[in-house]
């Protein structure tokens, strides 16, 4: 079979605008007052998607909310233009999209008027619209309602009419997004039967859905997207298994902004205040907030931490370790570094008061580039727990160099990271919790050899520890200054 669609390295970038008012005012005020300036954040909804879809295939796109599957469909439908990469479509292909059933329906118009209007929205000529009209009516089974304004339709009838149009348009490639969300069982069966007949006639279908049943009924191939990346491409059963692992493994990550920088306002993501573990700043660090803080404290104590030493908590986040270290250490002997000001603020204003700890007992450095030059004393102990999983190698190198420079000559820096046992293997790999990932997909899995080489390059020595006590199952390494470096 020849190709119907192919995306090569296709990426799509959106700009998230944080000052919501899309107004000139914002621009004008921004000229004088930096805090009022519109903050624009890049968001890559699709990251180098390469996918070939042959004619006659039915491909199911699955993934969690925000994984990019609808964006992919919209790019193919021509609604969004790819930012980079190529989108190849067989010449002469007629692409029909039902991104939302019944869009363009006007409540005041009758069923008949809406069908004809909708057909023209999908590019049909007057003659073609009239041609398909009878088929649409017959298919929808709404003969008696065609002269009734759509506002009097039930939501099921609404969708039924919308799908009937999509089914009758008869394109070569049909793009469907979540069409089974509404409609009764009969209608769903009818949808499946129609799509099957499409398949039988060699049409190509790209189908986005959360429903495993629908995917199993319709598709012969599944693609799993997560955070804009294509994680899996293969059989339907395989894809659904991966998807289940993904959703079961990380219910927290499904809620919290993990790979997106935590730039949302501190109040923005706050969940119901009753459940502290669901607060956004706790989720942002991965969800095992208290466990991880406790582990850092215990681990450092086992490494011989004493109150009079100077300790650095790299990536202190929302201060889970700080809430335990601060009361233990002598005043001003704890230093925390964090990149995200929002996380730090959440930590110092929510978590520390909750734990009854005063932030003034320690020092905090918040900047973008691991600049530790403000630290007044060399550190005896430093720790970065579950930080490297979120950093690219370059950033790790910068962090390592910075910490090594700030260490006392006999200082020790402990870092934990999810280890990739084989430097040449980039996945797929199974995590401790059973889900699948790739080593170059966040959370990043680096091999020890790779990190050790970086440490070596920036003037340190790395040693892999055998201890497996980290709550996320991460490997621990010890970094010390190289004598003479």
């Amino acid at each position: 079979m020849s190709l119907a669609l192919e995306s090569r390295d296709l990426s799509k970038r959106f700009f998230l605008r944080h000052n919501p008012a899309a107004e000139l005012k914002v621009r004008l005020l921004g000229l004088f007052d930096l805090s009022r300036r519109q903050r624009v954040e890049e968001f890559w909804a699709l990251k180098s998607i390469s996918l070939k879809i042959r004619q006659g295939e039915s491909v199911g796109l699955i993934g969690r909310n925000g994984s990019g599957k609808s964006t992919f469909l919209k790019v193919v439908a021509g609604i969004h233009r790819p930012t980079t990469g190529e989108l190849l479509v067989a010449r002469g292909t007629r692409i029909g999209s039902m991104i939302e059933l019944g869009t363009g329906f006007h409540p005041e118009l009758t069923g008949q008027e809406n069908v004809l209007l909708n057909a023209s929205i999908h590019g049909l000529s007057r003659a073609e619209s009239l041609d398909i009209y009878d088929q649409v009516v017959a298919y929808s089974g709404l003969q008696h309602f065609m002269d009734v304004p759509i506002k009097n339709y039930s939501s099921g009838m609404h969708v039924r009419l919308g799908f009937s149009i999509a089914a009758t348009l008869d394109p070569d490639v049909l793009l469907l997004d979540e069409i089974f969300a509404v409609g009764d069982e009969d209608f769903q069966k009818q949808c499946v039967a129609t799509i099957k007949s499409f398949e039988a006639r060699g049409k190509t279908i790209v189908f986005v859905s959360h429903s495993p049943t629908a995917i199993q009924a319709i598709c012969d191939r599944a693609c799993l997207l997560d955070r804009g990346r294509l994680l899996y491409d293969g059989t339907v059963d395989g894809g659904l298994t991966e998807y289940r692992r993904l959703t079961a493994a990380s219910p927290h990550e499904a809620l919290g902004p993990v790979d997106a920088p935590a730039t949302a306002s501190p109040g923005g993501h706050a969940r119901a205040s009753g459940d502290a573990d669901l607060a956004w700043h706790r989720l942002a660090s991965g969800g095992r907030w208290s466990e991880e803080g406790a582990w850092v404290f215990d681990f450092l104590r086992r490494q011989g931490l004493r109150p009079e030493q100077h300790v650095l908590d790299l990536g202190c986040g929302s201060l889970s370790a700080a809430s335990r270290l601060l009361p233990y250490m002598q005043p001003h002997h704890y230093w925390g570094y964090e990149k995200s000001i929002e996380l730090y603020i959440a930590g110092s204003q929510i978590e520390l008061p909750r734990a009854g700890v005063r932030a003034e007992l320690g020092h905090f450095i918040v900047n973008d580039d691991f600049d530790l030059s403000d630290a007044a004393h060399p550190f005896d102990l430093a720790i970065a727990s579950a930080l490297f999983r979120r950093l690219a190698l370059n950033s790790i190198a910068r962090a390592m160099a910075s910490v090594i420079r700030a260490l006392a000559p006999d200082g020790r820096f402990y870092a934990t990271w999810p280890e990739n046992p084989d430097p040449a293997d980039f996945g797929p790999m199974v995590r401790a919790d059973g889900s699948t990932t790739y080593s170059d997909h966040e959370p990043f899995h680096y091999s020890f050899a790779m990190l050790a080489a970086i440490v070596e390059a920036v003037g340190g020595v790395a040693e892999r520890l055998d201890e497996r006590s980290h709550p996320r199952g991460e490997t621990i390494m010890l970094i010390t200054r190289r004598i003479g470096a």
Partner: protein
């Protein structure tokens, strides 16, 4: 639903490389002309659906205007003859066509987010449909009123009146250009809506609608003639009220403004066509 590339050649087309261009947009408008027609019909239907006398309502408004202006200018202000009301009405009807189009076009893309985000079609269709809807209303009103007024005010037919459709055409092109500019800019800056209200008020008074050009000092007259809506409204007054051929200046500005607005509008919408779905 749309067809990719030329169906006779069997190969793959890279859609990411298809740059937006005025040509592509014009071809799209041609392909989707049936949608354009349907959108105009939809608006007309919706406007009069459910009202008993339907279209007659849109005649009531100008009729009321004519009565009010007759009373004000001939009985209260005693500033003009009854014939002057004919002059006023020519300008007011054409102005209403322009002002309503401009006002409605601001939301034609920004308020259609659901459609723009889920189906691809040439976005220029939306503001164009808004203008054509207003043109249809204007045409219907004029078809009823113009013969009535010519009779009532005893205006004998004259050859220049044949130019009426030409200037309505030019005004429509100018208005489509303005609508494309306003629809595109509102999608990015919601303030445009409010700016348009202010701008329309200014434009109304800088257009010879409620006053006659020959009552103005020569210097001001030249300025007023440069106002964007002046050539069109001036032309209607020329051909119906003064019953004379519009002069070269009117022709030049009427064609010039239409071309400038249309080119600018098309350029703007083509440049931004791909980002509407992301911005609204």
């Amino acid at each position: 639903m749309f067809r990719v590339g030329d169906p006779t050649v069997s190969a793959m087309v890279n859609r990411a490389a298809e740059a937006p261009s005025i040509r592509r947009t014009l071809r799209g408008l041609q392909q989707y002309r049936h949608l354009l027609r349907n959108l105009v019909l939809k608006d007309l239907k919706l406007k009069y659906r459910g009202s008993v006398v339907g279209f007659l309502w849109s005649l009531a408004n100008p009729l009321l205007m004519a009565v009010v202006y007759t009373v004000v200018f001939t009985k209260i202000l005693r500033a003009g003859s009854e014939g002057f009301v004919f002059y006023l009405m020519l300008g007011l009807l054409a102005w209403t066509f322009f002002a309503n189009s401009a006002g409605m076009s601001t939301g034609s893309i920004a308020d259609n987010g659901g459609l723009v985000k889920s189906v691809w079609f040439p976005r220029a269709i939306l503001p164009t449909a808004t203008v054509l809807f207003n043109l249809a209303q204007y045409t219907l009103t004029v078809l009823v009123f113009l013969p009535l007024m010519l009779l009532y005010y005893h205006v004998p037919p004259a050859a220049p009146m044949l130019l009426f459709p030409v200037f309505v055409g030019l005004q429509s092109l100018f208005t489509i250009g303005v609508a494309l500019i306003l629809a595109t800019s509102t999608a990015f800056f919601r303030d445009v809506r409010h700016l348009v209200e202010v701008a329309l008020a200014v434009l109304f008074w800088t257009t010879p609608i409620l006053y006659q050009l020959d009552h103005l000092p020569a210097r001001v007259r030249r300025l007023i003639l440069m106002s964007p809506m002046s050539p069109y409204i001036g032309a209607y007054q020329d051909i119906f009220y003064y019953r004379q051929w519009p002069d070269a200046a009117i022709w030049l500005t009427a064609v010039g403004y239409a071309v400038v607005a249309l080119v600018l509008g098309l350029w703007l919408i083509v440049r931004n066509e791909d980002s509407f779905a992301e911005r609204i």
